[in-house]
């Protein structure tokens, strides 16, 4: 397993890409593979405040439903509308076209609390 080194990760298998004061969030390839074919992603409306470690959405596959946990505290500025018609993007391109929400972070310094690629790799390897 190799994960992109320019991203940060949570123990709940979300990834975060910092983009100025904003952060793009998705789920990792490992999470997508574990869930199987993803058929639906329920995301919050823009403007909604999210709190680190609290559920902000739901991802549904043919065999399971999982909460999405906010990696950081902030406000939703955009969601990936393409997932409404193409939830399989999460499986095919989890770090790219399968992104889920863009957050305006309350404090970009919170990013330091997240795992780096090596730490996340180790977490997955440990099972």
């Amino acid at each position: 397993m190799t994960v992109p080194t320019d991203l940060r990760y949570t123990r709940d298998h979300e990834w975060v890409r910092l983009d100025g004061e904003e952060a793009v969030v998705g789920i990792t390839q490992y999470a997508a593979d574990q869930l199987g074919d993803i058929v639906f992603v329920e995301l919050p409306d823009a403007g909604k405040a999210v709190e680190a470690s609290r559920p902000f959405g739901v991802v549904e596959s043919v065999k399971a439903v999982s909460d999405l946990f906010a990696p950081l505290t902030g406000e939703v500025v955009a969601t990936n509308d393409a997932l409404a018609g193409g939830p399989e993007l999460v499986n095919s391109d989890p770090y790219g076209e399968g992104w889920m929400v863009r957050l305006r972070l309350a404090d970009p310094a919170d990013l330091d609390d997240l795992l780096d690629a090596a730490a996340y790799d180790a977490l997955v390897a440990a099972g």
């Binding site: 058929v39 639906f40 409306d45 739901v58 549904e60 596959s61 065999k63 439903v65 909460d67």
Partner: protein, 454 residues
């Protein structure tokens, strides 16, 4: 286990149940031999009146049901089949659900039908919750033209955080007894408290036809969803909810081959547009082909359901009334579309005959609007008249003062209904007996005294 739950007594688990509803020790007589018991039960059963000429509807309707419906239901394959949790092995059960959903989707002209719900009230309440989930709003408007029991059930489902408000009825004029559109507009205009859904029934509880397309328009203009509460037989002759822009249809399936039987078990119909497919609770069955290219039925979108999604399920108060859904399917398959139109049209014709016969003895309708097969009549001292007719073998519908005590505009009303099983003799008998009672009715005070001695 109590420690794990963080409570100290079993009673704490039941704290949410009001004391008045708690089970108390049953005061039962001592055991009896079977013969004696059977005789006692026969005696109790004999107290049921089956000799009445009935004009009672109010949400539950008498219809002729082909004997094949009940006979087929008795087959063991159906009788023992609950919705399977490893479903694909039970292709026959899935096919029956698929056919129910297909037949019902055609009837309501909507994309998705779930199988199924306890009754029309539960389906309506689920529809209300669907509108809140889909719009992420918390306020639902329900017309007072919706069956009072459905309104109560919906209020119960919404208790604990969601708001349910009633839209008043028009009190006088041509639209009397239907939903007050001006009031609806005013309620929708409160942008501080955006509305998730608007719920109205067609025909309404008083039997009147509602301006459903207009209400759908008003709801949508405010960003709300529109829920149509329907009576399935009527859809053979009235516009189905899919045609006037309803987002959800809910209703009671009892008229489709299910005998009127106390409070149930009945069949809740729930249908929606494709856009709401992930919000609709209950089983959805689809048809596909298997690896060998053969037709196969599958339970689909199960991840919305309680066995997988647990506390995030679309509903945790949901069951499939599989046997009753099957009864509705068999009924529709036997009766067919033309037959169902005949059922609805005959009911309407009998009701028109009833209206004319009552008008002949000077009894008028309470509202001027169009109806299908049920309407309210104006009778002074309606509860007393109703009782006196019962003594003479006529069940004169429903006393509206009792069903809608908070609606003074119908205080003098009896809600009467006719279906295809109503005969011209029944109608003549009702008119004759009602005329007698109205002519010979002693002053109310005397009657009230006499009633006390009954």
């Amino acid at each position: 286990m109590l420690a794990a739950l963080g409570i100290t007594s079993v009673d704490a688990l039941f704290a949410d149940i009001p004391d008045a509803l708690r089970a108390t020790p049953l005061d039962l007589p001592p055991p009896e031999p079977e013969l004696q018991l059977a005789a006692r039960l026969r005696g109790l059963a004999a107290r049921n009146r089956t000799d009445l000429v009935s004009f009672l509807g109010a949400g539950v309707y008498r219809h002729w049901s082909p004997p094949a419906v009940d006979q087929l239901l008795l087959r063991g394959e159906w009788y023992t089949a609950y919705t399977p949790y490893q479903p694909e092995i039970s292709q026959g059960t899935l096919q029956s659900i698929y056919e129910y959903e297909s037949l019902m989707a055609e009837l309501v002209a909507m994309d998705v039908v779930s199988a199924s719900h306890y009754d029309g009230a539960a389906a309506t309440a689920e529809a209300a919750l669907m509108t809140c989930r889909a719009t992420r709003r918390e306020r639902v408007l329900i017309s007072r033209g919706v069956h009072p029991h459905y309104r109560e059930t919906t209020a119960t489902y919404m208790a604990g955080g969601l708001e349910l408000e009633e839209i008043p009825l028009v009190l006088e004029g041509d639209a009397a007894g239907t939903t007050d559109l001006a009031a609806l507009e005013a309620m929708l205009a409160d942008t501080e408290r955006p509305v998730a859904g608007v719920i109205a029934a067609n025909p309404d509880f008083l039997g009147l036809l509602e301006p459903m397309p207009r209400m759908a328009e008003l709801a949508h203009a405010a960003g709300a969803l529109f829920v149509a509460v329907i009576e399935p037989v009527s859809l053979a002759v009235l516009a189905p909810p899919g045609e006037y822009g309803a987002d959800i249809a809910a209703g009671e399936g009892q008229p489709l081959g299910i005998a009127p039987q106390y409070g149930g078990p009945y069949l809740g119909i729930l249908a929606s547009t494709d856009a709401l497919v992930r919000q609709i609770p209950g089983r959805l069955v689809g048809m596909t082909t298997d690896l060998d290219g053969q037709r196969a039925f599958v339970m689909t979108m199960r991840a919305r359901e309680q066995d997988i999604r647990r506390d995030k399920a679309a509903s945790n108060i949901c069951t499939n009334q599989a046997l009753l859904a099957l009864a509705a399917s068999i009924y529709l398959a036997i009766i067919g579309p033309h037959g169902l139109r005949d059922v609805a049209a005959n009911g309407a014709a009998r009701a028109a005959e009833l209206e004319a016969a009552l008008a002949d003895i000077g009894v008028e309708r309470l509202h001027p609007g169009a109806y299908l097969n049920e309407f309210a009549i104006r009778v002074a001292d309606a509860p007393v008249v109703h009782r006196r007719l019962l003594d003479r073998g006529v069940l004169a519908g429903l006393v509206l003062a009792e069903a809608m005590p908070d609606e003074p505009s119908v205080a003098d009303g009896l809600l009467v209904c006719a279906t295809e099983v109503t005969t011209s003799e029944d109608v003549a008998r009702f008119a004759e007996v009602l005329a007698e009672v109205l002519a010979g009715r002693p002053p109310v005070a005397v009657e009230a005294g006499a009633g006390g001695m009954r």
